[in-house]
């Protein structure tokens, strides 16, 4: 087990430089030394430990981090860019695995370096799932299906919109519409839920909810009331 630390500003800069080198096509080993060096990292106020264990899904990662970080004060965790960027580096082989020839594709910087911007926060591959699980518990399962390396359409469409993602009844309605628990217990989002051409797809839901939000007090509704307001095109997903 490794004691959790946080990257300093200098550490974040060095990690960012590394990510830019990867994005430029270079094959370079992760700078794991930043995790412990005094100039690039520092201790947290509390104490927690993590291990670079295999995390097979976003849900598994969120649950693992929720358990491991439970000893820390919330204020030390939620918006701590140094902490989440440190965790990204520790788990870099999982959030940005090397390909057969050693190449890595980091994608957007905010997938690994936590952004202050509320609309980009959820793109962080560890902080996003963690926060969704904290907010919605099991109802976050539609967001947390799939491998850790995928941000996912549900997160992109809903989690980046604060007025939607903070509405518990709405997230429950989304779960009821688009999540298939599966007869074998291996649940997953319903096929086609994020397909733009399917009537009543996720993007349509977001557009309809944003329109309804101009008229109705959405925060005061339960999930039944929200589902009742949706037009006919969503009927097929309610089965």
């Amino acid at each position: 087990m490794t004691t959790v630390r946080k990257l300093t500003d200098a550490g974040i800069v060095k990690f960012t430089e590394y990510l830019k080198r990867l994005a430029g096509g270079e094959i370079v080993d992760p700078p794991f030394h930043l995790l412990t060096e005094a100039e690039s990292s520092e201790a947290l106020l509390g104490s927690a430990e993590v291990d670079a264990i295999a995390l097979e899904s976003k849900l598994a990662a969120a649950k693992y981090l929720q358990d491991q970080l439970a000893t820390l004060d919330k204020s030390e965790v939620e918006n701590n860019a140094g902490l989440w960027t440190w965790l990204s580096l520790l788990l870099f082989d999982q959030v940005c695995p090397a390909g057969p020839h050693g190449q890595r594709t980091p994608g957007e910087l905010v997938r690994h370096v936590l952004s202050r911007h509320v609309q980009r926060y959820y793109r962080h591959l560890l902080a996003g799932p963690y926060r969704l699980l904290q907010l919605h518990g099991d109802r976050a399962r539609v967001f947390l299906h799939g491998p850790l390396t995928e941000h996912g359409d549900f997160s992109e469409q809903l989690a980046s919109r604060m007025q939607l993602v903070t509405n518990r009844s709405l997230i429950e309605a989304v779960d009821r519409l688009y999540y298939d628990p599966g007869s074998d217990g291996a649940g997953r989002p319903k096929r086609g839920a994020a397909t733009r051409t399917r009537p009543g797809n996720l993007r349509r839901l977001v557009a309809v909810i944003q329109q309804l939000d101009l008229t109705y007090d959405m925060y005061a509704m339960n999930s039944d009331q929200i589902l009742d307001l949706l037009p006919e095109e969503f009927q097929r997903w309610r089965g």
Partner: protein, 263 residues
């Protein structure tokens, strides 16, 4: 951006009609004052104040339009620590099956005791927060509408007083604040209109600029590509910052701050 239509005629509550003050350190609480008189809302409609910061959210029932009763418990227990909550005032008609929103004000920035003094000029809300090793910065991303906020580091002793009354701070900081904001308006927002809603922060800043001696509205786009426009906006911003410095006697303030015997 998807266009949305206000079919039901929901009214906009002017920002000037709403003020929220936040107090307390460990778990802050808030007081909200608002004047809904001019909106002609039905007395039975319910009034809610919602607090939010990033992914945290709380809702408080303030009674009816005709009988405002702030709840006794206004502690922001569920709002994320380390940031400044924003507030939404909502008036809802609950006599229908699904409550209809009759009026709303969103993105209301609260003031704490120090900030009340620092926020006399509401064109630039001031928030005192933890900025690490930075003394100040202009934040454009915390408000839903991108309104600039001057953030001051809470770890600087008496930072609100310094921001208000220290000539050295004024001389070095505010001209750059003005420049950053005008850069944002013209180059990021690509906005040049001075006509429009009074609560649009971009219009507020362009109108403020035009109150400075010798400053006309920014030049408008003229047929050609962006390349032909941006240098003119650079010049306009330079002129405006220079006019700001003349108006507020920035050089005199700076010299005063650094003269022999200054505190």
């Amino acid at each position: 951006m998807l266009r949305r239509f206000n079919y039901t005629g929901r009214k906009k509550i002017p920002r000037a009609a709403v003020s929220v003050k936040v107090s307390g350190a460990a778990i802050p609480s808030f007081d909200a004052k608002f004047d809904l008189g001019a909106l002609q809302l039905p007395g039975h409609a319910r009034v809610y104040v919602e607090a939010y910061h990033r992914a945290s959210y709380m809702r408080f029932d303030f009674g009816q339009v005709s009988d405002i009763r702030p709840p006794k418990d206004r502690l922001l227990t569920e709002i994320e620590a380390g940031g400044t909550a924003q507030f939404r005032l909502k008036v809802v008609d609950e006599t229908t099956e699904h409550g209809c929103v009759l009026a709303e004000a969103d993105g209301v920035t609260p003031l704490d005791a120090d900030e009340v003094a620092a926020n006399r000029n509401s064109i630039l809300p001031v928030v005192i927060t933890d900025l690490g090793d930075q003394v100040w910065r202009v934040d454009f991303i915390s408000s839903p509408d991108g309104r600039p906020v001057l953030e001051l580091n809470k770890n600087v002793e008496a930072v609100a007083q310094i921001a208000l009354g220290d000539d050295g701070f004024f001389a070095l900081v505010y001209p750059d604040v003005v420049r950053q904001i005008l850069d944002r308006v013209l180059f990021v927002e690509k906005f040049t209109d001075t006509d429009g809603p009074d609560d649009d922060w971009r219009i507020q800043w362009l109108k403020f600029s035009c109150t400075l001696s010798g400053i006309m509205p920014p030049p408008q786009a003229e047929g050609g590509g962006d390349d032909s426009i941006e240098p003119r906006h650079d010049e306009w911003i330079d002129d405006t910052v220079a006019a700001f410095c003349r108006h507020y006697k920035i050089l005199e303030r700076f010299n005063r701050a650094h003269s022999a015997g200054a505190d």
